[in-house]
């Protein structure tokens, strides 16, 4: 195989001068392309020292601010000790209004239309069939919900304890944090989409084109592993609003739900709302037979 700009054979012994010259050329073109040398030769986010994290965040803030023409904060708040996040969704209450979907969109900076990415998919199901995903419809379009004879099941990332998506990632760009949130490093993701094939919940979404996010709709309060605006060609997913929950706030979907069907809290705290729901109500997890061990629990309050 020949390399353009270089004689392929016979290959001359490379001189020190020439090696340095080429390295400089690579560095210069990298700089021209907008990424630093340290980034090309870099490490994944997980391996960075505290000092390097600071630099990476500063760089991300600089770049995102330039991209959107307004200040963007990129933060990397770590997991809280003694916290494992869990989520509960009351199927007996959900009315399928999709308020959660759009609250999530507003909070998490996904691409709006081309492509359109929704981290929450609300399924409409027949009461007569029960939880039968083969007959679920996410495209229901109704004047009013709930429609008679139907119930609704929002599906988003289940933050599995045994996440198949993490297992298949060939480059380690996605992993499970100590508080249970499965995150993606958008700068490390190579866009192979193996994780999307592995996820049994359809919870991962791909930026097929340059994400379409108007600057006016940007949420400038971002987390490096969460709602930071994504580049083209990477996978993204629900993070339980990592930028909110690690600061003690509820996820956006919890606060948007008009019927109070969404519960969130620390699984390790027996007094938390999620644990209270699990202790009192009939609970199930989606596709239990796959052994993914979700941290997302569906329950029936009535």
């Amino acid at each position: 195989m020949s390399v353009p700009g270089r004689p392929s054979s016979p290959s001359p012994p490379i001189s020190r001068r020439r090696f340095l010259g080429q390295s400089l050329a690579v560095a210069a073109s990298a700089a021209a392309a907008g990424c630093g040398v340290e980034e090309l030769l870099g490490r994944s986010f997980r391996e960075l020292s505290r000092e390097d994290v600071r630099k990476v965040l500063a760089r991300a803030e600089r770049r995102q601010s330039a991209r959107f023409g307004r200040p963007v904060k990129v933060d990397a708040a770590g997991p809280l000790p003694g916290v494992e996040f869990g989520y509960g969704l009351d199927l007996s209450r959900c009315i399928g209004c999709r308020r959660c979907v759009y609250a999530c969109v507003k909070e998490n900076n996904p691409s709006r239309h081309h492509p359109q990415i929704h981290w929450i998919r609300v399924l409409e199901l027949d009461k007569a069939r029960g939880v039968d995903l083969a007959h679920a419809d996410v495209y229901y379009d109704a004047e009013q919900v709930p429609r008679p004879g139907h119930f609704y099941m929002p599906v988003q990332c289940q933050q599995c304890r045994k996440p198949p998506c993490v297992k298949v990632c060939p480059v380690g760009a996605t992993w499970q944090e100590p508080d249970g949130i499965v995150v993606v490093d958008y700068d490390w993701c190579i866009g192979c989409r193996c994780c999307m094939a592995a996820c049994p919940y359809g919870a991962r979404h791909f930026n097929w084109a340059e994400p379409e996010l108007p600057a006016a709709e940007l949420n400038p309060d971002t987390h490096y592993l969460g709602n930071r605006p994504r580049p083209k060609g990477v996978v993204e997913k629900c993070t339980f609003c990592i930028q909110r929950v690690r600061r003690g706030r509820y996820p956006a979907c919890v606060e948007a739900c008009p019927v109070g069907a969404r519960k969130f809290g620390n699984l390790l705290d027996p007094e938390s709302e999620i644990r209270q729901a699990m202790d009192r109500k009939r609970v199930f997890i989606l596709k239990e037979e796959l052994g993914t061990q979700p941290r997302f629990f569906y329950f029936y309050a009535t």
Binding site: I95, H114, V145, A256, P258, G260, Q276
Partner: protein, 173 residues
């Protein structure tokens, strides 16, 4: 009747509260038990409270159709077959409610009245399983009263118009 339907479902109250809580919630979670704050009860119909403006004497205790409070009588659907105004509103002091024991309860504690019949919901609500809370999952949070979400005179949730459906893949090209 004093209660106007809280426009909670349209997100007005929720939006205001989220904004109000954002400041408090921004601090890191406290190690202690979460502090709970009660949401403002939904506003009365303007000019109607205090009820004692008009109801100066106890009045007739017999159950009947009234010549006033048409809006409430029109939508009243809360075991209407068996109940009427003075089962909850106190006859002697119209500015408060009363429990079945006769104990008077201010409008800000109406959940005690609701809990008399809906004990299971009341229990769940106090544990944070029924109803909604906003703010911080670990710290300061606001909980809503029964009447912030349910119209006490017509408590069943009304159907809503859903947000737009997602685009199909072929529509995104």
């Amino acid at each position: 009747m004093p209660w106007s339907w809280p426009r909670f479902l349209e997100g007005v109250v929720a939006g205001a509260l989220v904004a109000a809580c954002a400041g408090a919630a921004a601090s890191p979670p406290a190690a202690s038990r979460p502090q709970l704050f009660q949401a403002e009860p939904p506003p009365f119909t303007p000019g109607i409270f205090p009820c004692s403006q008009c109801h100066t004497d106890p009045g007739d205790p017999t159950r009947r159709a009234l010549g006033f409070h048409d809006d409430v009588q029109g939508r009243f659907d809360h075991d209407a077959e068996h109940r009427w105004c003075l089962d909850c509103h106190d006859r002697a002091d119209r500015d408060v409610l009363h429990l079945s024991s006769g104990e008077k309860v201010p409008f800000t504690e109406s959940y005690r009245l609701c809990g008399q019949c809906h004990g299971d919901k009341f229990r769940d609500w106090r544990a944070g399983v029924h109803g909604k809370r906003v703010g911080s999952w670990s710290g300061a949070k606001t909980y809503f009263l029964c009447v912030n979400c349910h119209d006490p005179h017509s408590p069943r949730f009304k159907p809503l118009r859903p947000e737009p459906r997602p685009l199909r893949p072929e529509e995104q090209r």
